[in-house]
C-alpha cells in the first residue's frame, strides 16, 4: 500500500505537473495498450516500422544532435546491423534472438571505425566524408555477391516472432528501452560532456576532457543502437538488402531528426511517429498515393519556416515555461515556479525587456 501511495505521489509530483512528461506517459501507455483496443494487422505493421525507425532516428540524434557529429551516412550502421545479423542467423543457423545483439555489436564496431577515421574532421567535412562510407560499403557488398547476395541481399531470414502482435511488442518495447536509454545518457553527466564537445571542442579539450575518446564512445553507441534497429528491421522484413545502405535512408533520418528537434532525444522520436504514419497514410490514397514524398517534403519545409529549431522544442516552449531563477520547467499556465516560487513572467517594462536578455 505504501508503495502504491509512494508511486502515486511520484507520479503526481514528478510527471503530471509537466505537460511534456504527461504527454510522454500517455504516449507510452497508448503504445502498450493499442493492440488491445485496435489490433488491426496493417496498423500494427506501420507502427512496428515506426518504432524501428524511431530507434534509428534517436541514435542519429545522439551523434549529431548532442555531440555535433552531423553524420550523413548513418545508414551504414543500420545496414551493418541488418547484414551482420542476417548473415549470422542464416549461414551459421544461430537464433535471431542472439544475432540481433551481434548485429548491434558489429554496427558498434563500424561506428567506432568510422568515428576513428573522421576523428580529425569537423563540420561539413565530417558530414560529407561520412556520406561516403555507406556507398563504399555498397561497392564492397557488390564485389562479394556470394557473401552478400549482391543487389538482392540476404533473404529468407528467420523471424523473431510469428504473429503481428508479438512483432509489434518486440519493436515497441525495444524502442522504449533504447530510446529511454539514449535519452538518459544524453541527460546524464556524460551527455553534458557531449554538449560541450558540440559547442566548443577546443574549450572542452582545454578543460581536460579527452574528446576523441568521448567521440569514439558516442560513435560506437549510436552505431550500436542504429545497428540494433537495422537487425530488427531485417528479421521483420526477412530481407537484408542494399536498400538499407542507400543515401535516401541516410537523408531520411536527417530529415526526421532535425524536423523533430535536435539534441532532445524525444524530438526525433516524435517526428518519426508523426511523419512515418502520415506519409504511409498519404500513400494509401489510390489516386494521389504517388504524391506522398512531395507532400512529405512540403510539410517539412513549411513546418521548418515556423519552427526552425524543430517541432518538439517549439511545442515544448508553448506548453511549458522555464523558471528564470532555478531553471526548472513549469507548465505554461503557472504564474509562479512550482519549486522555488519565483514569478515565471517577471513584470518588466518594455524598455527593460528590450535591453536585458537572460
Amino acid at each position: 500500500m505504501y508503495l502504491v501511495r509512494r508511486a502515486w505521489a511520484e507520479l503526481k509530483n514528478e510527471v503530471l505537473v509537466l505537460p511534456s512528461r504527461t504527454a510522454v506517459l500517455v504516449w507510452v501507455l497508448a503504445l502498450l495498450a493499442l493492440p488491445w483496443v485496435y489490433g488491426d494487422a496493417y496498423v500494427l505493421r506501420i507502427l512496428t516500422m515506426t518504432c524501428l525507425f524511431a530507434i534509428f532516428a534517436a541514435s542519429w540524434d545522439l551523434l549529431a544532435g548532442y555531440t555535433g557529429q552531423v553524420n550523413f551516412g548513418h545508414a551504414l550502421y543500420f545496414g551493418a546491423g541488418a547484414y551482420a545479423s542476417a548473415l549470422l542467423s542464416l549461414r551459421l543457423g544461430i537464433t535471431p534472438w542472439a544475432t540481433i545483439w551481434a548485429g548491434a555489436a558489429v554496427a558498434a564496431f563500424f561506428g567506432f571505425a568510422s568515428g576513428y577515421l573522421v576523428l580529425r574532421l569537423r563540420g561539413s567535412y565530417l558530414s560529407l566524408a561520412t556520406l561516403a562510407f555507406p556507398l563504399i560499403a555498397l561497392g564492397i557488398l557488390f564485389a562479394f555477391p556470394d557473401f552478400s547476395g549482391g543487389e538482392l541481399g540476404i533473404s529468407g531470414l528467420r523471424r523473431l516472432a510469428m504473429t503481428p502482435l508479438a512483432n509489434y511488442y518486440i519493436a515497441a518495447l525495444s524502442m522504449l528501452v533504447v530510446v529511454f536509454g539514449l535519452w538518459a545518457l544524453g541527460d546524464s553527466k556524460f551527455g553534458i560532456v557531449l554538449h560541450a564537445i558540440r559547442d566548443d571542442e577546443v574549450a572542452a579539450r582545454a578543460s581536460g576532457i579527452n574528446t576523441p575518446r568521448y567521440k569514439l564512445v558516442v560513435f560506437s553507441i549510436a552505431g550500436a543502437a542504429a545497428g540494433f534497429s537495422g537487425a530488427l528491421f531485417a528479421h521483420y522484413l526477412r530481407v537484408a538488402g542494399p536498400s538499407t545502405l542507400e543515401v535516401a535512408l541516410s537523408f531520411q533520418v536527417v530529415i526526421w531528426s532535425i524536423f523533430g528537434g535536435l539534441a532532445t532525444g524525444y524530438g526525433p522520436v516524435a517526428a518519426v511517429f508523426l511523419l512515418y504514419p502520415l506519409t504511409e497514410w498519404l500513400g494509401s490514397f489510390r489516386n494521389f498515393g504517388e504524391l506522398r514524398l512531395l507532400a512529405f517534403a512540403l510539410i517539412v519545409l513549411v513546418v521548418l519556416l515556423f519552427m526552425p529549431r524543430g517541432l518538439a522544442p517549439w511545442v515544448r516552449d508553448k506548453i511549458e515555461a522555464q523558471c528564470p531563477r532555478c531553471k526548472q520547467r513549469n507548465g505554461a499556465w503557472r504564474r509562479a515556479c512550482r519549486l522555488c516560487g519565483a514569478p515565471l513572467k517577471p513584470q518588466v517594462s518594455r524598455s527593460q525587456g528590450l535591453v536585458g536578455h537572460q
Partner: protein, 405 residues
Amino acid sequence: MIRTAILATALLAASTSFAQSTIKIAILGPMAFVQGEHHWNGAQMARDEINKAGGINVDGKKMRVELVRADTNEIQSVPDATNAVERVITRDKADVLVGGFRSEAVLAMQEVAMDYKKLFLGVGAAHSKLGLNVEQSYDRYKYWFRVSPTKDVDLARTLFAVMNSIGEQIRKDLKTDTPKVAILAEKAVWTEGLIAAAQKNLPAMKMQVVGLWQPSAIATDVTAELSAIDRSGAQIVFTILSGPVGISVGRQMGERNMKAVAWGINVEGQKEEFWQAAAGKAQFVSTLDTYAEVEYTPKTMTFVRAYKARFGKAPTYTAATYDAIMILKDAIEKQGTLNADKIVAHIEKSEHVGTGAVATFDKRHDLVWAVGKTSGIAVQWQDGKKVPFWPPQVKGMHPFKMPAQ
C-alpha cells in the same frame, strides 16, 4: 488456416445468395514509373475484357473483376512495398495479388503475401531465388507463381541461340572465322550465371571473348568502358543490362560510331521510350523482348494492337499482368471456386496460351522454357523502330542489320 476459414464462409455465403459479387485483384507496382504504368494498363485491359463478357464464372455465378491499384513505391523504398501488400490484403481485402518489379522488394512482398496465404502472381521480377523458395518450402510459398519473365537462367538459352545466328551473319559479312565478343554486364547477382555461361559457351561456338566489363546498373557514363571495348576490336557487345546504364550504352555507342553491334538483354531497350531516351543514337541496338506485333502466340498480335490503340504505346513485359489475370480466370472457372489451394493445383497442371508466352509452370512455379513458347523474341532498333528478328519461324520477322564498317 484463417484464410481457408474465411474462404469457406465466403463460399457458404455464396450458396446462400449473400456473397461477395466481385473478385478483387490488387495490382502492385511502382505506379509513378514505367513498369507500374504497364502493370496497371495490362490489368485494365484484362479487367475490361472480362467484365464486358459478364465477369468470371465461379460455379455458375458471374463475378466481376475489381482492380485495386496499389503504389508500392518499391524502387524508392522496400518497407513501403511491404506496407502496400499488407494494406491491400487486410484493408482492401484483395483476393489475389499481381505485379511486383524490384527483386529485393518482391522478396519481402512475397513473405507478407505468403503469411496470409494469398495467391501472388509475379510479373516483373526475374530473380530465381523467388522460385527457389517454392521448391524449398512448398507449403509456404506455393501461392507464388512467376507469370513473366522467364527466370534468369533460362534467358541464357535464348541469348545464345540468337548469338549463334548473329555470329553466322558476321562470319559471312566480315569474313572472319572467330567473331570477337566483348561482354558488358552490369554488376549484379542475376548477371553472374549469364556471364559464366557466356565465357563457357562462346568459345565453343567459335567466338572469342575479348573481355568482361562490369559497370554499375545505374552508371550514367560508360565512355571509359566503351573506349576500352573499342580498343579490343570487338564485333559484338554482349550486353546484360537491366538498369538505366542500358540507355547510356546505346547512346554512347552510337555517338562513338562504334563498329560493334550490341546484342543481349537491355531492359531499357525493350521500352518504347528507349529511342528518345538515347536521343536517336541507339541504331542497331538489339535486345531480348516479350512483345512485338508478330504472331508469337495466337494472341500476341491482337493484344499488342489493342494495347497500342488504347494507350498509345507498345506494351513492355510488365504488361503481362494481362496474362496473369487471364490465367487466374481460367483456373477459377475450371475449378469453380476461389479457394487458393485449388487454384494453385490447377495452375500447376494447366497450359495457358497467353499474349507474351505459352505458359506452363515447373516445380519452382517458373515458366517452362521452350523456343516459340516462352523464349521471348529478339528485337533490334532500326531507324527509330523496334523491329523483331528472331525466332525465324515466327511470321513477321525482319532481317538483322550491322553498323557500316
